[in-house]
């Protein structure tokens, strides 16, 4: 058969078989025992030509409600933010996306330098000393922070605030189970971590306390106080931070965080039904040699030229094998590049302005909901999400909103039983005043 991805011609094949000294390609598969040789044809769909397949998949995509067609107020860890158009132009350069891990630094300086810049930008935003080249996503990055803390402190319990993303907490629990670490949830009180419960649950066997900043309900928590309480018992403070919020929030590094993790999705990475996004992982100099993932460092060549290499690899699986503290190998390099481009485009002024706009728009939405008679739960400080109480099931309200062109918020009752009929509304800089007003108006009408 002929295919555009397979260049061998019949003549090529004949010449190659003769060079090998065999008559047919089948001879190359004779080492596969007869009993396990697959002789039929795979029962999968037949090949489709480029245009027809493109059309079919475009039709499949059109069955989904997307945030380019609908005004989306759904956040809960994945956000519709401004994505500079240049992001896709940069990551579409195939020198980047068709390369693999930069094992040969002489011909991989582009990727290596891009990672070095990413590491720097994450350090700048988080206020931490060191950041790695990326993790799968915010959830697995948080889970690895928990297991790293347990390994470092030689303790076997971690506390996770109930205000951390529920799916991230699930992942933390799965990873912890792998290494026989106990996970205990600190309940929330009025939408923030309950400090009294924290002090109650914290003990000498607690490796770390995991919190989110801003938290799942959009609240900005007092992580410094949580850190002080945790450190007093010898535990580590692990903060999962939305990097976009750090444009205006005091960085976790200044508030006592030992490890700061999160997802760079808000910076230039499309929602993509939940992945691939881009976890980041940052820590202190003290914990540098314990951290998972790839690190790029600066050095020089024999002529004194500056260059970049993968470094401190003795931590990693391909060197340490069963002694490694993490098994991560492939990561999210291309998405780290996308995030770097977005962080560069926004830059010093833009990261502040975008974060400011999120707070301003959310404040506006909050007052609009309140004026319309809705209860906006939790009086604390919001970043870009608020919890609104409804009189009807969220699913029912969202179905009606969809008809009006809105993707409604997250149904909190799915993961917080006490919050049934409560919706988590996200308002990013992408939502206009008009859209916010229209949403509130529609929800008010549904409420009546």
């Amino acid at each position: 058969m002929k295919h555009r991805y397979i260049p061998m011609t019949e003549t090529d094949r004949e010449e190659m078989l003769s060079a090998i000294g065999i008559a047919t390609v089948d001879e190359l598969f004779e080492d596969i025992p007869e009993k396990v040789r697959f002789k039929g044809e795979l029962n999968i769909k037949p090949a489709k030509a480029e245009s027809a397949l493109t059309k079919e998949l475009a039709q499949l995509a059109a069955k989904n409600a997307d945030a380019r067609t609908y005004a989306s107020f759904l956040g809960a860890g994945v956000y519709d933010h401004y994505k500079p158009i240049i992001v896709d132009h940069v990551i579409s350069r195939s020198e980047f996306y068709t390369a693999y891990t930069p094992y040969q630094p002489e011909i991989s300086q582009g990727e290596l330098q891009a990672i070095f810049e990413f590491q720097t930008m994450i350090c700048e935003l988080t206020g931490m000393d060191i950041a790695n080249s990326s993790m799968y996503d915010g959830g697995t990055s948080l889970a690895e922070a928990g297991t790293m803390a347990a390994g470092h402190t030689r303790r076997t319990k971690i506390l996770v605030s109930e205000t951390v993303h529920p799916e991230a907490r699930d992942v933390v629990a799965s990873y912890a189970a792998g290494q026989f670490i106990d996970v205990v949830t600190i309940p929330h009180k009025d939408g923030v971590t309950d400090m009294a419960e924290l002090e109650e649950l914290l003990d000498d066997n607690t490796a770390a306390v995991l919190v989110q900043y801003p938290n799942f309900f959009g609240q900005v928590e007092d992580i410094q106080k949580i850190g002080d309480i945790t450190h007093a018992k010898g535990g580590l403070l692990v903060v999962s931070a939305n990097p976009l919020a750090l444009g205006v929030l005091t960085p976790p590094g200044k508030l006592g965080a030992d490890i700061t993790v999160g997802d760079a999705q808000p910076f230039g990475i499309s929602e993509q039904f939940g992945g691939p996004h881009c976890g980041y992982f940052a820590t202190t100099k003290k914990l540098m040699r314990k951290m998972p993932g790839r690190l790029v460092g600066e050095t020089t060549d024999s002529e004194g030229r500056r260059g970049y290499v993968l470094t401190l690899q003795a931590r990693e699986q391909h060197i340490r094998r069963d002694k490694a503290t993490s098994n991560i190998c492939s990561n999210q390099a291309l998405n780290a590049l996308a995030a770097s481009v977005a962080m560069t485009a926004l830059g010093k002024a833009g990261t502040k302005e975008i974060a400011y706009q999120n707070i301003a728009k959310t404040a506006y939405a909050k007052s609009a909901f309140e004026k319309a008679g809705f209860e906006v739960k939790y009086g604390g400080y919001h970043f870009n999400e608020i919890v609104v109480a409804l009189k009807k099931p969220v699913k029912e309200v969202n179905a009606k909103l969809l008809e009006k062109g809105f993707i409604g918020g997250y149904d909190l009752g799915l993961t917080y039983p006490e919050l049934s009929n409560h919706v988590l509304i996200a308002v990013t800089e992408q939502r206009t005043k008009e859209e916010i007003d229209a949403l509130v108006q529609e929800m008010e009408a549904l409420h009546a």
Partner: protein
């Protein structure tokens, strides 16, 4: 600063420049300090670049010019399957109905995405010969860990939590033992025999009532098919253990042999390798796991099911190992893999394997006279040479790899697998033409001659790259892992 240094983005920044276009604020201005708790309003701005849009494009274009990808040239990096990355995949992944859908939308609004996922699962089940597939794991290593956690849960459910040992051949990928460790197991290494295959006697002596699983790559990392696979399955199953298939090398047997038919209980695939992910400079990957019916109750949740013509996520899975990743895996990557499978069809996938194996054997036979070939039987999709003949002349495998850079080739994987001295692991893939293979072979032969006649030219390579060999010891001893403004520039 050295005149040849490529500036960092932080070094071309100028206060006051911007590269963004944010929406106009159309709601009332606020006073930030009254909207944030005391002490949490950031005092110092992060030192991020201040550059124009053109500055950004020039910067990253310059960086891309300092990078070698498959589209740049031949990339025979063993075990990584650096095949061509089809452009239709990139187009499809950017359709708004795939790129801009939220994972927590109501299921009724994402039926198209779920239909694709379900169909992909069905395709991967058929390709691997397994009963059920989860798309959740984000990469190969993540898939390994996921499957091992399932195997652990299976043994625990049977009251056999004493099964704490995972067997791994000495030729295995580093992720295998690392995954076993993070899944809570102890690793036991199994030796290879003189033919580069698992030593059956050694395996027999190491299995026992404490065996949880054997992790195996087939073909193994030497590119050799484990011919005794059925016997190995019998040995491991005989003591109550499970057989795990590392799918890194699936490009060697696709449509020719299926892990499920070989007796494997769990399989992970690297969609960014075999199924044109792409590799992205190190990721994102996608590492679906396929399992037998027996292990299926332990799959990570949610489970994607089809009820009549409706797709839904099932969360009530009592024996599940839980969630291994937020949401549903790297959708954008497995969507590309799906597009690729649909572009190839059954005969296309078979042709992929046949050509990948033909290419590898052709290269191996043509290079055999010039390099040591520790294992001489037919290989599968890759083969491993040893540079020990050249080493005696003072030219190491590393030197030869660096010399290849002067000819525009990405070198093969080197010093892996660990059981071959001065290893050179070559995987051409099926997407390369005979002309490309010949050109690489001729270059390798030339380098072998240089090693005899003019070793310095190899030892001092590369000569044509933007930078020479870098001081890795310095990088590790005095780690500089980020740019800082205050820091004295290197080598003024």
């Amino acid at each position: 600063m050295h005149k040849d240094n490529q500036p960092l983005i932080f070094e071309i920044t100028k206060a006051g420049r911007i590269g963004y276009s944010l929406p106009e604020l159309d709601v009332p201005e606020i006073d930030l300090s009254s909207h944030l708790p005391e002490g949490l309003l950031r005092e110092e701005s992060p030192e991020l670049p201040e550059v124009s849009e053109l500055d950004i494009m020039r910067h990253y274009t310059a960086l891309s010019n300092r990078n070698h990808g498959v589209d740049t040239g031949f990339y025979p990096l063993g075990s990584c399957t650096m095949k061509y990355n089809p452009k239709i995949n990139e187009a499809v992944a950017r359709f708004p109905g795939f790129a801009h859908i939220h994972p927590l939308q109501d299921e009724s609004t994402v039926q198209g995405a779920m239909e694709m996922m379900y169909d992909l699962q069905v395709h991967l089940e058929e390709i691997t010969g397994m009963d059920e597939v989860t798309l959740q794991p984000a990469a190969g290593a993540h898939g390994e860990w996921t499957a091992l956690m399932m195997i652990r849960a299976f043994h625990e459910a049977n009251g056999e939590s004493h099964r704490t040992k995972v067997l791994v051949p000495d030729s295995a990928h580093g992720t295998n033992p690392a995954s076993a460790t993070v899944a809570g197991f102890d690793t036991v290494t199994v030796k290879s025999n003189e033919f580069g295959l698992v030593d059956i006697d050694d395996l027999k002596s190491k299995v026992g009532p404490d065996t949880a699983a054997l992790m195996l790559t087939n073909p193994n990392t030497l590119g050799l098919f484990e011919e005794d696979i059925l016997q190995m399955a019998e040995i491991v199953h005989g003591v109550g253990g499970k057989l795990y298939y590392d799918g890194a090398n699936l490009n060697a047997v696709m449509a020719k042999a299926r892990p499920g038919d070989m007796g494997f209980d769990a399989v992970h695939l690297n969609l960014h390798k075999t199924f044109t992910g792409p590799h992205g400079g190190g990721g994102p990957g996608s590492g679906p796991v396929g399992v037998t019916k027996e292990l299926a109750p332990f799959l990570p949740k949610p489970i994607l099911v089809k009820e009549d013509d409706r797709y839904t996520f099932k969360y009530d899975v009592p024996q599940s190992i839980g969630r291994v990743k937020p949401f549903y895996g790297n959708f954008g990557i497995y969507l590309r893999a799906y597009t690729y499978i649909r572009s190839m069809g059954p005969d296309g996938l078979k042709a992929v394997t046949e050509n990948a194996v033909l290419n590898a054997n052709y290269m191996m036979r043509r290079l055999e006279p010039y390099f040591d070939l520790p294992y001489t039987q037919h290989c599968k999709h890759e083969f491993v040479l040893s540079g020990r003949r050249q080493k005696k002349l003072g030219v190491r495998t590393l030197d030869m790899a660096k010399r290849l850079l002067d000819f525009g080739f990405h070198p093969p994987t080197i010093y892996f697998p660990l059981n071959v001295e001065e290893a050179i692991m070559i995987e051409p893939t099926e997407t390369e033409s005979k002309e490309t293979l010949d050109s690489f072979i001729d270059t390798m032969i030339q380098i072998a001659k240089e090693a005899e006649e003019n070793p310095e030219i190899v030892q001092e390579a590369p000569h044509t790259t933007v930078i020479n060999r870098l001081d890795e010891t310095k990088a590790a001893r005095q780690p500089v892992l980020r740019y800082t403004k205050e820091k004295e520039p290197v080598n003024v």
